[in-house]
């Protein structure tokens, strides 16, 4: 292979690789979604309003209000220190339940409402059958929020 051809080959590799990396990097930054706790969300500066974020917390007992004949519902998400109202439209996952952990994806607005159409719920560490709970078997509880975020 002559020097000129070699340079041609290297240049074409660089163009292809560079183009793809440029494409990836451009999309990468735009598609990063950060995770916050309700306390952090309440303290959001206006810069964060409307930005896509994820928030993890406990669904407050008795807070779920379903709007009949629609896919809408409201509930409150808390981390113990602060609570945020969530307006949700869509299908909650099977494991979504009052008193259990959930991660919502959406945005916080100036009216101090969180709008979401995606909820992720997860088995927490204390997932066990009723019989065992009755028998008083205790499993170690991990830091609640930590299990959620994982």
């Amino acid at each position: 292979m002559t020097k000129g051809k070699k340079i041609g080959l290297i240049i074409s590799i660089l163009i292809v690789a560079g183009g793809l990396i440029y494409l990836g990097m451009g999309q990468f930054g735009q598609n990063l979604v950060y995770f916050f706790t309700p306390s952090e969300v309440v303290a959001f500066s206006p810069d964060y309003y409307g930005k896509k974020v994820r928030v993890g917390g406990l669904v407050v007992q008795g807070s779920v209000q379903i709007v009949p004949n629609s896919l809408k519902m409201k509930f409150t998400l808390t981390d113990g220190a602060a609570a945020i109202p969530v307006q949700f439209e869509g299908i909650p996952p099977d494991l979504f339940k009052e008193g259990k952990g959930a991660v919502v994806e959406g945005y916080w607005d100036a009216e101090k409402q969180f709008h979401s159409n995606m909820i992720m719920a997860k088995h927490s560490e204390d997932y066990m059958p009723i019989q065992m709970k009755q028998a008083g078997v205790q499993l170690p509880k991990k830091d609640f929020l930590k299990t959620l975020q994982q």
Partner: protein, 649 residues
């Protein structure tokens, strides 16, 4: 009692794997061939010992021995027997057992199969396989012991995660592991080649079939996982760029690059260091894949309990394996100078080069998206995730580029393609590609991705058809065979090439399925009551009832839906909302009806007092994704079991 025997067997296996590592090396140094033989027996014995361990665990599962902590965590007395066996790999500890069991089985086969033919590399081979074995066994014995007892003995088990209670659970994880572990064999041969200094093409030729086997097992595992997620998770898609899917996709991408690039070394003795590099990366990613999925570092449906102690061990083991691999490669790279240079940019070599470039860029993309969140978490203690648009943006051009190369590569000449060669092979495909694009436009395809897909798919299809036609015509002319016989002769006389082309056909079929089901998917999510009907394209879906049904370890609300097309009854669909008794966990079971290789897909994610929520989808041609996978498998099968006597390429 049995469980203690199993535990003991695994501890003995751990000790034997130390012998497997040290024996061959000492045997070589002191020139005592018997020591290598001892190591061989250690490897063989390990297979039986791990089998005993597996049997003990399966026995505890079948007899509901909840004094075994692992059985308690992943099984329940009401769990159907089928899933009790599969429950063995329903958690981290059992998965590791399955992994190491497959490893011992493969190692034993390799050692006995190549004992006579590969005496020079055998000691290193045994040593490397034993190092991997040692790493896994130490982890099982010291950190993730599935044989641990529990006191007081609980009355019942926590049950296998309901999402995992599916027939696919029996096959999907073992398939993936056959793939991951399968790559350990070309890896071990590569390492043995580096250590022994026999750096020719031999290690590639010996492992060619193993690589294909590992690759198709991994491919099957991934595709099966996709199908499983498709009907079980109920969101209507089969790939979500979930970290765990990514974990199995990364070794696949680099493994596929390796599969192609070894051909350059076989034919042209180039890319020597590169191939070694690729197989080391592939196997390292297989290890990363195994650990990421079960150790709980990633968020996904697959991960449950987490133990930070394991993470550190895994990291150290990985670092050791990778420094062993790359370290040796760097030390030996001086001997690996390939004397041959590339002749021209318009050549088969160069197509392979770009093939590798695309696969590697894809792998890096996935790697970054999957592991960046972990990095951020560790360094900044912030939580972050990367969305699917990032992956899609990179993968669309990469996939189209790879497809295009798939058409060019097999037909272009080695060294330097003449203008004549190009004209002869690509003029017609280019014309047909233009016709294909026009046809796609005429039937109403307007998206860039759809049109580009149609263009490239018709281009590649033509090149493959021409390739088959060329071979058959040659035989038909030369021996005056009829075309069937000529085709058969052409195929069997160059089976490696044509089997490869069949795998490529499978890829094309899959691509058509992916494009159609992605661009032309129709979805409706609506609240419904009995008596309501919705319209989805040409279909009317009517809810006619809701009833209670009971399974072995669950109860469910089952919706009764009727599907009509132009007033004519098509089918009845019965989606369920289940509650698993032991864990009180709800799941959503989809109902699927197949029409023209596409699906009418229905789930009922919510059941309430005043109605249900229904998600209805039409996924056109979605079955082609898996049919394509089947054709790929056929191609690989024909490649692995081609007769040795005939010329290869």
């Amino acid at each position: 009692m049995f469980i203690e025997i199993g535990h003991f067997a695994v501890v003995v296996a751990l000790v034997l794997s130390v012998i497997g590592v040290i024996g061959p090396i000492l045997g070589l140094k002191r020139n005592k061939p018997d020591w290598v033989r001892v190591a061989r027996q250690a490897v063989t014995l390990n297979f039986f010992l791990i089998s005993v361990g597996m049997a003990a665990l399966i026995y505890s599962f079948l007899t509901n021995d909840f004094s075994v902590k692992y059985v308690m965590a992943t099984s329940n007395s009401k769990l159907p027997i089928f899933y009790k066996v599969a429950g063995l790999w329903g958690g981290h500890e059992g998965s590791l057992m399955l992994w190491v069991w497959i490893l011992t089985a493969f190692s034993t086969i390799v050692v006995w199969l190549h004992w006579r033919t590969q005496p020079a590399v055998m000691p290193y081979l045994i040593s490397v396989q034993s190092v991997i074995m040692l790493g896994f066994l130490a982890m099982i014995v010291f950190l993730s012991n599935p044989f641990e007892r529990l006191f007081p003995i609980p009355a019942d088990g926590r049950d296998l995660n309901p999402l995992l209670q599916d027939p696919a659970m029996v096959v999907h994880p073992p398939m993936l592991y056959l793939g991951y572990v399968g790559f350990s064999i070309p890896f071990a041969f590569a390492m043995a080649a580096l250590f022994s200094g026999r750096l020719g093409e031999e290690w590639i030729k010996v492992t060619q079939r193993w690589t294909l086997f590992a690759w198709i097992a991994l491919t099957t595992g991934i595709l099966m996982g996709g199908y499983w997620a498709y009907y079980e998770l109920g969101w209507g898609g089969y790939w979500g760029w979930d970290p765990v899917e990514n974990a199995s996709f990364m070794p696949w991408l680099v493994g596929t690059a390796f599969l192609h690039s070894v051909m350059v070394q076989e034919k042209r003795k180039m890319f020597k260091v590169w191939n070694l590099f690729l197989i080391i990366v592939t196997f390292s990613l297989s290890l990363i894949g195994t650990f990421l999925v079960r150790s709980g570092v990633l968020s996904s449906v697959h991960t449950f309990a987490t133990d930070p102690g394991r993470g550190l061990y895994i990291l150290i083991f990985l670092a050791l394996m990778m420094s062993l691999g790359f370290g040796t490669l760097i030390v030996r790279s001086g001997r690996l100078k390939s004397q041959i240079e590339m002749d021209s940019i318009i050549s088969k070599e160069s197509v392979f080069l770009f093939n590798n470039l695309f696969f590697l860029v894809a792998a890096v993309t996935v790697f970054l998206g999957t592991l960046y969140p972990l990095l951020v978490e560790t360094l900044k203690t912030a939580k972050v995730s990367v969305g699917p648009p990032y992956y899609n943006a990179v993968f669309m051009p990469v996939a189209l580029g790879l497809l295009l190369l798939m058409g060019i590569g097999p037909s272009i000449a080695w060294r330097k393609a003449s203008l004549e060669n190009l004209k002869k092979n690509f003029l017609l495909p280019i014309l047909i590609a233009l016709v294909g694009t026009a046809a796609a436009w005429l039937i109403g395809i307007r998206t860039v991705f759809g049109l580009a897909g149609a263009m490239i798919v018709s281009f590649v299809t033509t090149t493959i058809v021409m390739d088959f036609a060329k071979g058959s015509t040659l035989w038909a002319r030369r021996y005056e065979f009829n075309y069937f016989k000529a085709f058969y002769e052409a195929f069997t006389n160059n089976q490696r090439r044509y089997a490869g082309q069949i795998t490529h056909i499978g890829v094309l079929v899959m691509v058509v399925g992916i494009i159609a089901s992605t661009i032309y998917q129709t979805e409706k999510v609506v609240p419904m009551r009995i008596g309501d009907a919705i319209q989805l394209k040409a279909y009317t879906i009517k809810m006619v009832g809701l009833q209670e049904v009971t399974g072995p370890n669950w109860t469910a609300q089952e919706g009764l839906f009727e599907v009509y097309r132009d007033g004519r009854f098509v089918t009845q669909l019965l989606p369920q909302k289940r509650i698993y008794t032991a864990s009180q966990t709800p799941t959503t079971e989809s109902a699927i009806h197949t029409v023209n290789l596409g699906h009418i897909f229905l789930t009922m994610p919510e059941v309430g007092p005043d109605g249900v929520t229904v998600r209805a989808l039409i996924n056109p041609l979605v079955l082609l994704v898996w049919i394509g996978g089947g054709i790929m498998g056929l191609g690989v099968f024909l490649n692995i079991f081609r007769s040795r006597s005939k010329a290869s390429l």
